[in-house]
Subunit: 343 residues, 4 copies
């Protein structure tokens, strides 16, 4: 007699762009406990092209999957402007929700998402993937088991692989805070458990594309946070690192320090006429593929009633609040108290 | 319309021991393109305990799976003494075969396996997992793309995590060569592509359990190889490293050097009162889990007709031949030419 | 015939405290081109105890060495409050001056020092020793040779070895800026050559000794600088790192990034049951002994008319100005423009 | 009153070649406790060119310095063929002797040196500089304090910086054993304190200059040692490493492992479009300058009656004996017992 394992969680992915393509493929290939059933995108050929080789169906609109009783959960990888409506509708339809970060770009909308998930009793997880990268997990564990003591100085940074080829005019204002540093804000909270941010002081500029500065474009930023347990933190971002995708964290306390993130793609070292070298990754989906797989495994586990440590809707709200405070800090050239920034 | 992806390859695993448990679970959880259908073990409760939660059936004998037309391939994780019969029977039944190393312990038996697979036209892959570890892959790539030049000096080592708790009396003679260093012999050949070993000089002793020396037990070994392209290599093994599982490789040539293997389990570094530390792994299935997954993905790809770079039956024979030469070297206290050691 | 090398530069050291003891010994033992002639300290026994084994004479007051025509230069290692008078008097007496950082604690006094040295035509060097540490030198070289491109994001930090055993009541106000971060302010300027700081935003608190907070004691600080070439920088300090003396730098630009400072005291790595570990240094005079030697060699070279790249009196003034701006930033809880802070 | 420190030890250096030039300069510039008085070389212009800027006198023959009562010790940096006569004469003249490795190239001559020094009661130190490199010191300390336990597997290697530009016809036979691996043989003994080598198995070839193979030239070697405490060791050498001077050691025992030697010249890491890189050294006098200074400081200390841990004449003999056994092993293609090789 076969004691059958739990049937796979049936997922639909909404948004067949770059990150949606990665996630759909990762779910289909690397997550045994999940089954990719459908891919939704208004550009239906894109949906079809992604879905077919993965054995999933393509749809142009979300309504089809939201009304499909055989679908357990949705993974939202659309532009952030669409998150609120999709999250609220999916939750209301009883679907568990995994949304890429940021949860939304507006605090009131984020609150609606959290409330909708709470009411429906579904899982709402935000795509803060660093929480699933081995180095960051080990750093968090060093905090949790007391080896760091009380955090006093923290750092988190994100540098996207260069050269920067984006079109500033097509990038929404405040993207560096809402899309990039939102990761670092979550990481800093996660590495300082139990503490919350009190004040935010942000500096930013267009250093990579100074020609776009007058349009309000920002590509480089440095933000200082003060936590209510006294700790200071910096979050740093750049849209263009010549050497690839760079994600690092550091937490220092009265007991010790942990650093995470090396950029290395393997433990091979090459010694040649130019010195010694090791390879760095060119993309988040390269460096953090394993972390992406990890977050989906945790999502499935949460749906099945386990208690994995996932970034929740509340975590999404908190990180967004810090990002919004950073934006006010830039607009008003001053330190902003987090409590000033509410829905 | 859904352009359905290839159906999963249907696998039966034979041998529900420590490594079989790992492999069955990895196949069931991490290999999207394969389906674990059955687990075979004469200790049928062990087979049942492993199979049930993975959704597979349990059998006491291999004959059932070998005659099952719905099974495409077998994964052999039994003691090495049983490999020959199982490989020959499975190949003859038209099943593709993945066997844990060593292919067999005797050269004539190994040749029978290769011949059976050749005749049946099935894939025969040997479990040399380091070929699928990122650092070793990168080192091999550095050789392949010319950055190393002609290899001149190589090194490969295996140290099992200590403390050693084995019972010498129950460990077959020559295990250190046939089961442990066989990995290093394959790695050294793989990092010196196109070259073959000419001579083998082996030294070994019971340093961890000197009390078992008189019974022929060997727990520490150092082997020097000479390749036909002039390169020298050392292979080193110990049954007990206090700091965990240690697997490293090095290839030095006139163009440069590559090293692989750090023992690190993540890129976290902890700075505390005792200095700086990073974690090492305690087991092969910990350090090399990703490599195990990689070898099974390659196995599936090979079955589907792709041309992945896999360790073949021939590679299994070559590594075994080196191991047998090392044994003769120990027995006769002299350098042995590889050609002396034939079936 | 012997073409005699240049005679050694004859030095007197003023201030026989901890760092004076290190410097006197380093000069006597490790600087072939200098001769330690005298040690001055009002605690004449301390001067005697330090001077005698080094073959130097002891004096209670500086006047003796300043009027000694056989003395070429002085090394000032007294408390900072005494720097101005000593520097001005020594320069006026025609002695070259090496002063420990900070040049002075007040900007008008610092200007007087620079002016006195300028008028007398003597060398005035400030003890920013990181400019002579191999890793920092290599980072600066990466900037200078264009590998970094235009600096955009910089970081420098200083963490003193813990546990902190100081007596807050006996530590002058603002020490963390004037004595500790002054190093980082110089490093950041040095790694961003040609640029100067525009604005300073400082945050600080007593996290190690919160009991002393009400007295104005500060033991942890994080400062954000904005440079006139657009670059952002953070400077970070703590009075107590459990793992030893921690000094690191990072400069990131559109061409690449350089990091300096590992805390390692050797390239030995120890692999044991607790993982892998390497040793860190417990003191600046341990980690940076070679840098101290390097700065004295450069001082001698400058005296002899060479053009070494040394931190000058002007560099001392610039770093002090940043420190003073940071203090105003703390006092007024706002970003301060450097130009607001003048003598 | 000045309690004068000990007067400097007065040294004469014999042999103004490459390493002699380094050592004379290091002694003159970096060793406070020694004074370079004379440089001896039959090419008297070379001696003069080296001596003059260092304030020393030049001589064409050693007799002048050996009969000079003001000279305390000699540093011998001539070709090895001249070592025996110089060491014996210097010792007989009551001079302390520092000789570059190897002590001599013949065992009977080495014994004469040791005997001469013993009779005269002078210090006889051999230039095994790795004993003074920080990483190797730390590794030895890990052995000495028990963290390694009983050594079981050791490794030491030397790879000279390439490209190899030597003229094989002008390089004495067996140079790779007598001049290069002699370092590794000493290191392996030093990292396995109290144990001595039992057997030696050597392999070597001309891989860099195969055209010179027929003349007996050897540029690449791999040697296996067996110690009387059971430990196995490999010593490895190459005359040409594309990435610079490579010196590493490893000692593994039942308690743990220590590795030493990274080739890094600083802790700077550069992250650029080609990945991450750090600098390696191009020469022994670059990588190991500090170790050279250390060995001369120890020499002075030994002369003054201290008990520093220096490589003695006996250590020179032991390393030479291993080298001679390796040569016999090559000549006779067999494992050689050390006891077979005596004067």
């Amino acid at each position: 007699m076969i004691n059958s394992p739990a049937p796979p969680v049936r997922l639909a992915l909404i948004g067949a762009g770059r990150i949606g393509t990665h996630h759909a493929t990762a779910i289909a290939h690397d997550i045994h406990s999940a089954e990719l059933v459908a891919v939704v995108d208004p550009r239906v050929e894109a949906a079809q092209k992604l879905a077919a080789p993965l054995g999933a169906r393509a749809e142009a609109e979300a309504s089809g999957v939201l009304s499909d009783p055989d679908i357990d959960a949705v993974v939202i990888t659309t532009p952030a402007a669409l998150h609120r409506d999709l999250i609220v509708e999916a939750a209301s339809a009883g679907k568990h929700v995994f949304t890429e970060k940021p949860i939304t770009t507006e605090l009131d909308e984020a609150a609606q998402c959290v409330e909708a998930a709470r009411r429906a009793g579904v899982v709402l997880q935000v795509g803060f993937n660093r929480r699933f990268a081995p180095g960051f997990i080990a750093a968090r564990r060093a905090v949790a088991d007391g080896r760091i003591g009380t955090p006093q100085l923290l750092r988190s940074l994100t540098r996207d692989p260069g050269p920067f080829g984006g079109e500033p005019a097509r990038i929404p204002l405040w993207t560096i805070f809402l899309e990039t540093l939102i990761h670092d804000f979550d990481t800093l909270r996660w590495l300082n458990p139990g503490a919350e941010v009190d004040t935010v002081t942000a500096h930013a500029d267009a250093l990579i594309r100074p020609d776009a500065r007058d349009d309000g474009f920002l590509d480089t930023a440095m933000v200082t946070l003060r936590f209510d347990n006294g700790a200071f933190a910096t979050a740093e971002a750049s849209f263009s690192a010549s050497y690839g995708y760079d994600v690092r964290g550091e937490v220092f306390g009265d007991g010790g320090m942990a650093t995470a993130g090396s950029g290395r793609t393997s433990d091979m070292e090459y010694f040649g006429p130019g010195g010694v070298a090791y390879d760095t990754s060119r993309a988040d989906t390269d460096l953090l593929h394993g972390a992406y797989v990890g977050e989906f495994k945790a999502f499935v586990e949460a749906i099945r009633g386990g208690q994995p440590d996932i970034p929740t809707g509340d975590d999404g709200v908190k990180a967004l609040q810090i990002a919004r405070a950073a934006i006010v800090s830039i607009q008003q050239s001053r330190t902003v108290r987090l409590e000033e920034v509410t829905r």
